[in-house]
Amino acid sequence: MTSTLTLNKITAQKGISVADAAKKIADLGWNPSYVQEAMTFPTDYKITKAPKDPMKQVLRSYFPMQEEKDNRVYGALDAALRGDMFRNVEPRWVEWMKLFLAIIPFPEISAARSMAMVGRLAPGEDLRTGFTMQMVDEFRHSTIQMNLKKWYMENYVDPAGFDITEEAFGKCYATTIGRQFGEGFITGDAITSANVYLTVVAETAFTNTLFVAMPSEAARNGDYALPTVFLSVQSDESRHVGNGHSMLMSMLKEPENHLLLERDMRYAFWQNHAIVDAAIGTFIEYGTTNRDKNKESYAEMWHRWIFEDYYRTYMLPLEKYGIKIHHDDVQTAWKRITEKHYVHKIAQFFSVGWPLNFWRIEAQTDKDFEWFEHKYPGWYAQFGEYWKWYAKLSHRGQTNVTFNADTGYVYPHRCWSSMVPCVIREDIVTDTIDGKLHTFAHELDRWTAVEAFAGEYQGRPTPAMGRFSGRREWESCYHDWDLADAIQDLGFVRTDGKTLVPQPHLRFEEKEMWTLDDVRGHTIKSPLITLREMNEAQREKHLADYRAGFTINPCN
């Protein structure tokens, strides 16, 4: 036997190259001549250049690759149970997963649907395989996440909240933010939604905080399941980033698209910041019990993933193609996270509204205070007393912060654009749409709702652009309702008919659990309806007071 003789040389046979395979598969399409395809999801963009498929993967290798990834995920879930993961997991963390996993499967499956929209718009068939794989990927993500949630429900100490998850998603005052995110992928101009908002911004920039930063924090809290599932999910995202970029490059070829691209990059970046940073920032910073001062804060991760990675290496190079990039928006977002404590104010808002949630939120403690002050200097002066109040009022019979005049907290207005409350009080702006007054968290949110989502943009007709609709201010749905009645109507009551699903603590003794009787007697008010009912002078004073902010009273 010579040293050059190998089994491979005996059995190998000539095959087709990857590039050749991709080329042949791209040739499966044709221009119909008997009946034209219906363009049911229109766009105002012009696309004439066929996008190229940068990944050149075919389904023959895709399916086995995905099956192998799945085997690892499900094997790890089995191993986590055998290793008694839930005995050591931090309930503070798992409780926030009731919110996160209620939201995320809908945006994921919406992304699958959106592939239909871009698939038909892209000329040529080169990228069709990429869109096909993304469609099946998103189907994977949605159902694998539902499976993870079911697994938590079956194995975690308090399954309430997981057990009503998709119903809660449609109703909760916090999940409304996630609905704005998911609907944004599938509604309105097909390119704005399915390409720019979804792929170019959400997937390329913000999945790093969603699917990379969050799993790290999960692991620090004894949760090995979430990293296993979500890092596997993230491994699909590089293909999606490639799809989005390829479509983007095709659109850049047409100068008349540039104004729309400037608009959509602006809208998509700002709204992704408003929504994703609100939610994921809160999970990471407030859902953790790990206060290692050497680990990165959400702000530090944001700087790495969004500022350095996305802004500098993805957004900035678009300028050379003639797209105006709004550098100041990125700087403003960064300042909101660092100087204006955006995430902390959102976490405060989520906790204020705990009776209308479907998970438990416990108070932050001394150990947390120290870490926050270290990472965000000045944090304690703004939020320390608040969390002391929250802890004090977490016992049955106390009056919730929203309705407790002693605390000094002022319930926020809701942003008509992102659905996130106007927590940076000094930035609130108002405007009218169809003669009706609305509140916005920032000038850019006003611009999004009033100028971007309209039938005309800077003198150019944009007939395909979507509109903001529905009963967007959640609080309006329960204006003048008693808090207990609203909770009952939402279905956030356990099956004994009285105990609330949400609790402001992690104490699992029956006697500690709040019931409907503990929250009855408080009336919900919609800040927007209240504002609209004011005369002009009252309104101006109200907004001036709102912009001045509030001070939390000392908690003794």
Binding site: L59, I109, R113, T129, T143, E154, V157, D158, P159, D163
Partner: protein, 356 residues
Amino acid sequence: MTATQTAPVKSGAAGSAVFADSDSRKYRYFEPRGKRATHYEDVTVDVQPDPERYLLQDWIISFPNGRGAYSKDNTAALSSNWHLFRAPDQEWERTHYQRQSKIEAMVQAVIANGRKSGAPRHFDKAWVKVLQNHLGAWKHVEFGLGTSLMQAQRYGYTQMINNATLTNSSYKLRLAQDITLYLAEIGMDIGNFDDEAGKRAWLEDGTWQGTREAVESIMGSPDYLEQYFAINIVFEPLVGELFRSGFLMQAASPNGDFITPPVISAAEADYERNLANAIDLFHLLAHDSEHGAHNKRLFQSWLHKHVALANKASAGLQPIWSQPHSKPVQYSDARTQSVERIGKILGELGLELPKE
């Protein structure tokens, strides 16, 4: 810095504390089809919401015409409860990848082993032309149907309908690619194999124009349910199975080809699953207590349109049956079988096959 400390939590494991709903370990927001929810139902039902289940604030973004993300009038069919449907194949991501991956492994093993034994060189010469021209054209059929279904999965009113449509699309697009790569690979072993002849036949050969018209008519329909109906209830039995089972699967081996049948056989198994899903959905709609009569009339109109196109497609393909040297099956026999097949399918739905 002092806050009221909470009591330490000792364990996050199920059963470590007993309180209201500490044993609530099933999703309790939907009615399972059977006594207990299946895994498929748990990961599928209600993930796509709507104002009935459970969008308190309605759709919060709309198209310029005021319609929300999903609306019932994406199809002319009506239902008193769109949420009832559950796909009999119970497919979710894990089962989908397992099945697709197994098929790919089987197909690649068959092709590799066949090529190792030099089988393609021994295919009958006339049969090679059949594969080159007609199997080569057929890959475009599967692709066209796959892209139609990819489009259709955006429109359904529930997650169950859209996911069944999505997996159907995935199966079709996999088959289109499998055929493409299969022909490219055996083409390397066969002298003068023209890999582009299939697309030429698809676009220019009169044999295929009826089929192309039928496929393009499905691609061009703006009604997603009409697309799903036309593919699974009409086109597949009258044209798909006719060509795949009624010709390729039977004629290949007498002409020295034992590779093509297993490559194609996966599609027949795919169709059994997709057919089961489609029959269940259309049965629900045809027997809807409020809208059954409307739906039956609608389905009859779809049948009228698509059966005529499928019949024309089928008739156009007839000459292919006489092209191989060995002719183990007659077109007329295959056609009789496919007409019987659609008759049985329509019988299940309470519909009638239009007269030719």
